[in-house]
Structures are given as structure tokens and as C-alpha cells.
């Protein structure tokens, strides 16, 4: 039994015990009646009063929901690896959902205790969240997630795999675990210190590529990395201001290994210059160690009724040191020297340091009851300076190289907006945004060594928008932006663009509401050598029907239509001709969820699901219908049965389609 499974069962048993002890919950102690007490006495006792439990003493000590069940996964039709890459839900006993609140009858330990979680018992996504708080004394948050990330899609690694035999070279089956603990002391008081710790780790196996001149080989990959974040700080609450000062650090390690121990022909099936290239043994061992310090200062203040301001300064300086070792045997070639060799080793030691500063300042002025002026400024500066030394031994020939690299990016943004309440129901705003920056990066290898290339960013944007609420039931929001620039970092970056967003909501009746969104965006870069054209549109409508607050019936319907068009040229490397990279995506997405509960304490039925159908560069159909029935079994329990179906197909990659049924039966305990 793995640690995870054990933890899952402990969670189940603990929750079950909590739910079972309701009957024994004793009423809370009666609180001293404060009505009629002198104000001064109440003022002195306010801390004590605030610390009392908020939940009336006659309520259950434990409340919440827990859902336990068993899921059957029917035979998966089609590509099982694609099913695992996209859905990955399997068979077995599961804690499907847990959401409980535990009250402390004495009111001394906590006034809020919540435990949430789900997916325990073998699902690929296990989560748990614990929140405990005693007002003005402490607040504790614990968050844990364990996510399986499997990706085995041949169409990603080898788009033409159906026309040739190439082993999948980019796949992984890893777990990522994330834990976060934060403890705040004296929350709600003037001075609140806090400490926190976060760990993010990943481990698992995969297939990756090993490249040597003239051939590339699929090889095994053992992934293992871990990042720890430590931070502590203090929040100061004053009259009209709040200041947060935080100091933190990280440690990082990556011990990835890549290996091969059997003859591996690679992707080259034909000899090169009469020699058949192959790989026999390989070991690549990465030893990366990193650390960082970071500091954060945040200020929010409203020194007067007509002004709000906030400011922040953020600094981090991550660094890393690498020790890398590689050994290989087989038959290889060094093309630039036409040197064939059968074994080689390489060692590299390198280091990188990346100071990164950010600062921002925002202010809102309200010189008149109907006028607001917002000004914001932000800057972000990053440098990455590195050095490396590589020692290679290829058969009898040795090489030593000293390498450096550099990346420098400066970015700034300034924005001014004026908002005017034209009438009680209409607010309009307009403004201007200016972005500028410069960067310097290592030039491509074809240029001379240690050369750099630079780029700049310059863009002005006009901003406008309105919020119109003609009456209580109808709201309309419009937001537009038009930008013109003359420099951008990348060919596909934003330059001359315009975008418009519309959003409206209309409450037809107290139980029926309709909302709609629409967004369009165009981006053009007419610069010779770029000539990029991009446009997208997005429109959707949602209907929500909840008669009597959804007590007996609720119906949620969404439909969304999106389109993307992108067109940019590049020079095909093999013939020097200009080719176009065209991307099209025309998609329809819909979802329906109907919940019917004819009697208040009777059974209820849920039916619906979602679909996604697209055409264009990668046509896709993906369906997820769902049906669910719940039957009451006494006051606190329901039997729940659920059916789901997943169906996916991509006409260009039919070999990756899959279909799967899932049936779940279980108990839902509610208190």
C-alpha cells in the first residue's frame, strides 16, 4: 500500500468518525450577554467578543458533505494512451468529494475548521485543503495536490507517424506533488506576522530524444526535481494604510537522468557515408542545484477620501549551478570534422544568475463625485548572466569550450485613465497606455560567437469603455483598445492591434437570466520580413433558469463560438522559398446541465454534458455527456449513481481517438 493510499484511507476514516460524532456534540458554553453593557466595557472586551465562535451553539459540531463511491471504467475503445493523456480516470474505490466543517464547541481552539478534498483512492488528481482559524489568534492553511501527468500522444512527437515508423520520442508519465502551508499569527490585528512553506516536486519516467550528429535516438528519461519555497513576513495595518514586508527564498534541485542500454538504431535508417550510426549505451546525468532569495514590499493606502494608492517593490535573484556528465558508446560521427568515433564522454559545469526587479505604483484620484482618474506605472528588469565550461572526449580527440550567455530585458508600462459617471446609470472611461522596453539576447549560432542581438518594444494604446445599466435587470459593458506600435520583440508579438469586448446580462425574470459575451481582436505587423496577420473572434451566450432559486429545477445552457485566423510567412530551410504558416480554428462549444428535483426530500436527476467541435488546422470532436441520479437513504445519506462518456476524435490523427464509459456508484453523506 503506497503512502498516498494510506493517507487516503486515513482521510476517509477520519472524516467518517467526524461525521459519526455529530450526535455527541455538546452545546457550546453560553456566552455572556453583552446587550446593555456599557460601551466602554464592550470596547475593552471587543477582542474577547470577536474571538467567540460565530456559529450558534445548538448547531451540529460537524457539517458538510462526503461522497464515497466505486467507479468502473468500461473498455476503452481506441487509443488507451490518448485516453490516459486526456482523461486518465480509472476504476476503483474513491473518495470523490469531501467538504466538511468542524466546529469547536468550546470556542477555544478555532472558530473555523474546514477540510476539503477529492480524488482520493487512486484518481490521478488528489487534493486536500485544510483551513483552521481562530480570529485574531492564528490562521492556518494547508494545501496538498498530487497530480499525475501522463502525455503519450504520437501526433505531438511525430506528426507523420501514420506514414512512417518512428518511436514516440516525447512522452512522460510523471507525478507532480504540491504542498503549501501558511500560518498567520494574530490575523485581524495591527501586526500580523506570517510564515509559509511550499514544496513542488516532480518525479517519473518518460521518453526523450538523444541527439548526436546525423541521428537522433529515443531514450529513457528519469525525471526528478524539487523546489522548496520559504517565506516569512509581516503585515502592518494602520489607519488608512497597509504595509506588507516579506522575505523568502527557494532551493531547487534537478537530478534528471537519461539512459539507454541496448542497441538503438535511432531515426536514421540509411547509412551515413557508408557507416551505420547507432547508440549502444548512454548515460546523461544532470545535477542542477539552485537557490534564490526574494523580497517583497507592498503598500496600500488611502490617506484621504479622494485618493487611493498602492505600490509594490519585488526583487528576486535566482541562481543555479549545474554539473553534467555524459557517456556514450555506439557509432557516431562529428560532421564538421567528418570524424567517426565509437565512444565519448562530456562534462560540463555551469552557473547562472538572474537578478530580477519589479516595481509598480498605482493611484486613483477622485477629484469630483463623478470623476475618477487612475494612473499606473510598472517596470520589470531582468538580467541573466551565465558561464559554462564543457570538456568533451570523443574517442581520442579532446575538446574544451568556455561558453557564456546573456539575456537582458527591460520593460515598462504607464497608463492613465479617466472615468466619468455621465449619469447614474452610465459610466464611460478613456485612457492611454504606453509600453516600452528593450532586450538583448545571444545571437543565433550562425552569427559570430558571443554576438548579441537586440530588439525594442514601443507601443501606444488608446483605451475606451463604458458600463451602461439602464435598469436594474440589464447591464452592458464595453471595453475597446486600439494600439499602434513601431517595434516589437517577436514577429508574432502584438503591434498594431484593436480589440473590443462586449458583455451583457439581462435578468428576464427573477429566475431566468441571459448573458452574452463577444470579443474580437485583430493584430497586424506589416513590417517587411514579418507581414503577420492575426484575428480572432469569440461569441457566447448563456442561459440560466433557476425557478424558485433552483429548488426543483435548474437549467444552465452555454454556447460559445470561436474563430482564430493566423497567417505569417517564413523561409523554408530546404529550398529558400517563402512558405506560409496558416492556422485556423473554428470551434463550437456547448454545455447543458439540467438538475431536476421534483420533491424537496426526494430523488434528483442531473443530465447534461459538453461538446467541442472544431474545424481548421486540427479538426477535433470531443464529447463529455453525463447523467446522474441521487436517491435519498434517510436524513443524511443519498445513493448516487453516475454515468459519463468521453469520446474524442481528430480526423487528421484518427489513431488517437478514444471512447470510454464510466459508471460510478456511491454514497453521499450530508450533514
Amino acid at each position: 500500500m503506497t503512502k498516498l493510499t494510506r493517507f487516503g484511507w486515513v482521510l476517509i476514516l477520519g472524516s467518517g468518525l467526524c461525521l459519526a460524532q455529530n450526535e455527541q456534540a455538546s452545546p457550546a458554553d453560553a456566552k455572556p450577554e453583552q446587550q446593555g453593557a456599557p460601551v466602554e466595557a464592550q470596547a475593552e472586551a471587543q477582542d474577547a467578543a470577536a474571538a467567540q465562535p460565530l456559529v450558534p451553539s445548538d448547531e451540529a459540531a460537524v457539517a458538510g458533505t462526503m461522497e464515497l463511491g466505486y467507479r468502473w471504467l468500461g473498455d476503452v475503445g481506441g487509443n488507451f494512451n490518448a485516453y490516459r493523456s486526456v482523461v486518465d480516470l480509472g476504476s476503483g474505490v474513491r473518495v470523490l468529494n469531501l467538504d466538511t466543517r468542524l466546529d469547536d464547541p468550546s470556542g477555544k481552539l478555532w472558530d473555523r475548521f474546514t477540510l476539503r478534498g477529492g480524488g482520493w483512492g487512486g484518481d490521478p488528481y488528489n487534493t486536500a485543503h485544510l483551513g483552521v482559524e481562530r480570529h485574531r489568534v492564528y490562521r492556518l492553511h494547508v494545501d496538498y495536490r498530487n497530480l499525475v501527468y501522463l502525455n503519450y500522444l504520437p501526433s505531438f512527437a511525430n506528426p507523420t507517424i501514420d506514414r512512417g515508423v518512428f518511436v514516440n520520442q516525447r512522452s512522460m508519465d510523471v507525478q507532480r506533488r504540491f504542498s503549501d502551508v501558511q500560518l498567520d499569527l494574530m490575523p485581524g490585528r495591527m501586526l500580523t506576522p506570517y510564515v509559509a512553506f511550499t514544496r513542488d516536486s516532480g518525479f517519473g519516467r518518460g521518453i526523450t530524444g538523444f541527439v548526436s550528429d546525423g541521428n537522433e535516438y529515443p531514450v529513457a528519461n528519469d525525471l526528478r526535481d524539487q523546489t522548496n519555497h520559504y517565506r516569512g513576513g509581516v503585515r502592518l495595518d494602520g489607519r488608512g494604510w497597509n504595509l506588507t514586508l516579506e522575505q523568502g527564498g527557494t532551493t531547487f534541485k534537478d537530478d534528471q537522468r537519461v539512459f539507454n542500454s541496448a542497441p538503438n538504431q535511432g531515426n536514421r535508417t540509411q547509412p551515413l557515408l557508408g557507416q551505420q550510426l547507432f547508440l549502444r549505451d548512454l548515460l546523461q546525468a544532470y545535477g542542477v542545484r539552485g537557490d534564490s532569495i526574494y523580497s517583497r514590499g507592498l503598500l496600500a493606502a488611502s490617506p484621504a477620501a479622494w485618493i487611493d494608492l498602492n505600490a509594490q517593490f519585488l526583487f528576486s535573484q535566482p541562481s543555479s549551478d549545474t554539473n553534467y556528465f555524459e557517456a556514450k558508446t555506439g557509432q557516431f560521427v562529428l560532421l564538421n570534422q567528418l570524424l567517426f568515433y565509437d565512444r565519448g564522454t562530456g562534462t560540463l559545469s555551469s552557473s547562472a544568475k538572474q537578478p530580477h526587479s519589479s516595481a509598480g505604483f498605482n493611484v486613483e484620484l477622485r477629484p469630483h463625485a463623478r470623476i475618477r482618474i487612475r494612473e499606473s506605472w510598472f517596470t520589470d528588469r531582468m538580467r541573466n548572466a551565465t558561464r559554462a565550461q564543457l570538456v568533451e572526449q570523443l574517442a581520442l580527440t579532446g575538446f574544451t569550450s568556455a561558453l557564456t550567455d546573456r539575456l537582458a530585458v527591460n520593460f515598462s508600462q504607464q497608463q492613465t485613465e479617466l472615468l466619468v459617471d455621465v449619469t447614474k446609470r452610465l459610466t464611460m472611461w478613456g485612457g492611454h497606455r504606453y509600453l516600452w522596453g528593450d532586450s538583448q539576447v545571444r545571437a543565433p549560432l550562425v552569427q559570430r560567437p558571443n554576438a548579441f542581438e537586440s530588439a525594442e518594444l514601443r507601443r501606444h494604446s488608446g483605451l475606451a469603455g463604458a458600463r451602461f445599466r439602464p435598469w436594474q435587470k440589464w447591464m452592458l459593458n464595453a471595453d475597446a483598445e486600439i494600439a499602434r506600435g513601431d517595434r516589437t520583440y517577436f514577429r508574432t508579438g502584438l503591434l498594431n492591434y484593436q480589440k473590443l469586448n462586449l458583455r451583457t446580462r439581462y435578468d428576464v425574470t427573477s429566475s431566468l437570466s441571459v448573458s452574452a459575451v463577444a470579443a474580437v481582436m485583430d493584430n497586424e505587423n506589416p513590417t517587411p520580413g514579418v507581414q503577420y496577420s492575426f484575428s480572432s473572434h469569440d461569441a457566447g451566450v448563456s442561459v440560466s433558469y433557476l425557478p424558485k432559486g433552483g429548488e426543483k429545477l435548474s437549467l444552465l445552457v452555454d454556447y460559445n463560438r470561436t474563430g482564430i485566423y493566423s497567417d505569417i510567412g517564413f523561409i523554408a530551410p530546404f529550398n529558400g522559398q517563402v512558405e506560409r504558416s496558416l492556422y485556423r480554428d473554428n470551434a463550437h462549444t456547448g454545455s447543458v446541465l439540467a438538475d431536476v428535483r421534483p420533491w424537496k426530500a426526494g430523488p434528483w436527476v442531473t443530465a447534461g454534458g459538453s461538446y467541442f467541435v472544431s474545424s481548421g488546422s486540427r479538426p477535433t470532436r470531443y464529447y463529455q455527456p453525463i447523467g446522474r441520479v441521487a436517491l435519498p437513504l434517510g436524513k443524511y445519506a443519498h445513493w448516487v449513481g453516475e454515468w459519463r462518456w468521453y469520446g474524442s476524435a481528430q480526423p487528421f490523427y484518427l489513431f488517437e481517438g478514444f471512447r470510454a464509459h464510466q459508471f460510478t456508484t456511491g454514497l453521499r453523506l450530508t450533514r
Partner: protein, 338 residues
């Protein structure tokens, strides 16, 4: 003028004294220099203040002989018993522990309600759900304006588009129900407005929000942040993507500039895509060749000249990341091969 005011229900107080925005004088106009000077002066003054923990809402309320009259919470409970019971479990009920509001917690947000208690008319009392957004927010901000979560507020899309606090927060509910916290509930709540974003999560390759393993606020701070669109940060100023994808964080000996300058969204569609690995293009080579175009740097952009002499008609070269495996950055190889 003494503070706190008399706690006796029925005492007359100045109109909405706790809502300072409505009672203080407006700012004078002036040039940018004067404006900046004022800001810094004000900042210096406020930093120098020896603050006490008295609630912000009490700072300007003064006792007077005329104005609206408070009814007291007991009077409210007489008619709104269900709300009152729910409110008793809410963190907002703590306002009754603050000076001056012991017996009229309801009126801290709804304003003096004696007239409403007498007439029963809805228009005689404030209902924050029906006020103009800025007026609703002014009520909330009176206590919550200067909190850590509000630091990015002025840059937030929600603030800019006038989404009221009450659009997400249910004020009378318990801590757990005050705002949706469980992933499934929260995602549903966000989707009720951002339906087009939720539609993207229905695509086959997406972060695990549908399964309840993640929630919108894992990546976004709805109150605003300095990264657009209200992205959370990790290690002070790095995008929150590295919270879970720590192995992509670096710093790398050999960086891929696009990763630092365009962020992850330069190549990935984090809300969902029909393309594997949430890429924004259907094949990796297009993703790469659009920047590494061989056209050169005359256009002023970077990355246009790689040593791209491969014959991309050959299946071996259809996917750049088969060889350039460390596309996010390499600790070892300048061409991102190891």
C-alpha cells in the same frame, strides 16, 4: 466630539459618517508635479502615523444632533430573521465587536435604517446589491480598502470593468460560503461570467479544472495583480506557472528568450486547446518557425536567424522538439539539445 457614538439605538448620527468618500472634501486640481508631490507627501505622512487598530469605518463618524437614525440590529431581526440568523455565522458579524457598531451591525453596510423600520419601504434603506457599483464597493472598501489583497486592485480587470464585490461575495454567509472556495463551486462561479474561458476548458488538452483538481484562483488573483491578466506570482515576481512547473523556472545557463519575454502564453494556451500540450499551433514546427523564420533580423525582431537548414519535409525534422528537447531553456547546451 466623542467617539464612539452612543450605542443606544435611535441616536441620530451624521449622514453615513463611515463612508468617508462621501463626506470628505474633493481634491484640488493641479499639475502632474504637484500631484506627484502630494502623493509622496501623503505617503510619507501616512507612513509616519502611529496607527492604532481602530476600525477604519470609525474614523470619521461623529455624533451629531441631526441626520438619519439607526434602528439597531434587533429591529432588523424582527423582520429579517432568516438573514439575521445567516449573518450571525458570517465573519462580517464580527463588526458587532467593533466600537460603535455593537448593536447595529446590519446598519454598518445598509446605513441608518430607522426610517425603513418605520415605513417598511425598500427605498428607505441601502441595498448594496442594487446600488451603483462604485457605491457598493465604497461600502466594502471602507473596511477592506487597505488590505494586502487590495494591492493590485487598481489594475484589476474586475475593478476597471466595475464588477462589484457583491458579484462574487455573499456578505451574509459563513466564511466558507462568503465566496466560493471549493474548486468546483468556484470554477462554476467564475464561469457564470467568463463563459468563453470555461468553454476553452472543454477542449481535450487543458489544465485540470473540469476535474476539480484546480481552480481559477490558483493562477489568477481576482482582486488584481501587477501581471496581466491578474496573474498570481511566485517567488515575488515570477509568473505563477512556476509554482507547479518548478523545473521550467531556471535560471538556465542557456535561456530561450521567448520564455522570458513572452511568458508561457507565447506558445501555450493555458485554458485549453485542441492541440497537444496546449500549444497554440497544431504542429510544433509551425510554432517554432513563425519566429525562427530564416528571414533575418531586419524587421527589428529577434530569433529570425537560427541555423535552420533541416529539410522539414523529412518526418525526422517535422517536430523541432524531438532534438531540441530543452525548449524551455537548457542548463547544458546552447542549442537546447540537452
Amino acid at each position: 466630539m466623542a467617539w464612539p457614538p452612543s450605542a443606544t439605538p435611535g441616536t441620530k448620527l451624521p449622514p453615513q459618517g463611515r463612508h468617508r468618500a462621501a463626506t470628505r472634501s474633493p481634491a484640488p486640481g493641479g499639475t502632474a508635479a504637484v500631484f506627484l508631490g502630494l502623493i509622496f507627501a501623503a505617503s510619507a505622512v501616512l507612513l509616519a502615523q502611529t496607527a492604532n487598530s481602530e476600525p477604519a469605518n470609525s474614523s470619521s463618524q461623529k455624533q451629531g444632533s441631526s441626520g438619519p437614525v439607526y434602528a439597531g440590529s434587533e429591529t432588523c431581526t424582527a423582520c429579517h430573521e432568516d438573514i439575521s440568523q445567516s449573518f450571525a455565522k458570517s465573519p462580517h458579524a464580527r463588526i458587532a465587536g467593533r466600537k460603535g457598531w455593537e448593536e447595529r451591525a446590519c446598519e454598518a453596510c445598509h446605513g441608518p435604517a430607522a426610517a425603513h423600520a418605520e415605513s417598511g419601504a425598500a427605498e428607505d434603506v441601502k441595498n448594496p446589491l442594487k446600488l451603483a457599483v462604485k457605491d457598493t464597493d465604497a461600502i466594502c472598501m471602507d473596511c477592506h480598502r487597505n488590505e494586502q489583497t487590495a494591492v493590485g486592485r487598481l489594475r484589476a480587470g474586475h475593478y476597471r470593468n466595475e464588477v462589484a464585490c457583491t458579484a462574487c461575495h455573499t456578505i451574509h454567509q459563513t466564511h466558507e460560503d462568503l465566496v466560493a472556495r471549493a474548486p468546483a463551486r468556484q470554477n462554476k462561479q467564475c464561469a457564470s461570467c467568463h463563459s468563453q474561458v470555461w468553454a476553452q476548458f472543454q477542449r481535450p488538452h487543458a489544465h485540470r479544472l473540469r476535474e476539480g483538481a484546480m481552480k481559477c484562483t490558483d493562477c489568477h488573483n481576482p482582486h488584481g495583480g501587477f501581471l496581466s491578466p491578474s496573474l498570481r506570482t511566485v517567488s515575488a515576481n515570477e509568473p505563477n506557472c512556476f509554482q507547479c512547473h518548478g523545473d521550467k523556472r531556471g535560471p538556465f545557463t542557456f535561456e530561450h528568450a521567448a520564455m522570458r519575454m513572452q511568458s508561457c502564453a507565447g506558445c501555450h494556451e493555458p485554458h485549453g486547446s485542441a492541440n497537444p500540450r496546449m500549444l497554440t499551433r497544431h504542429e510544433v514546427r509551425f510554432q517554432c518557425m513563425e519566429c525562427h523564420s530564416n528571414i533575418g533580423t531586419a524587421s527589428g525582431t529577434i530569433g529570425g536567424l537560427p541555423p535552420a537548414f533541416h529539410d522539414t519535409r523529412n518526418p525526422r525534422y517535422r517536430n523541432c522538439t524531438i532534438c531540441h528537447v530543452k525548449v524551455h531553456g537548457s542548463h547544458v547546451n546552447r542549442a537546447l539539445l540537452r
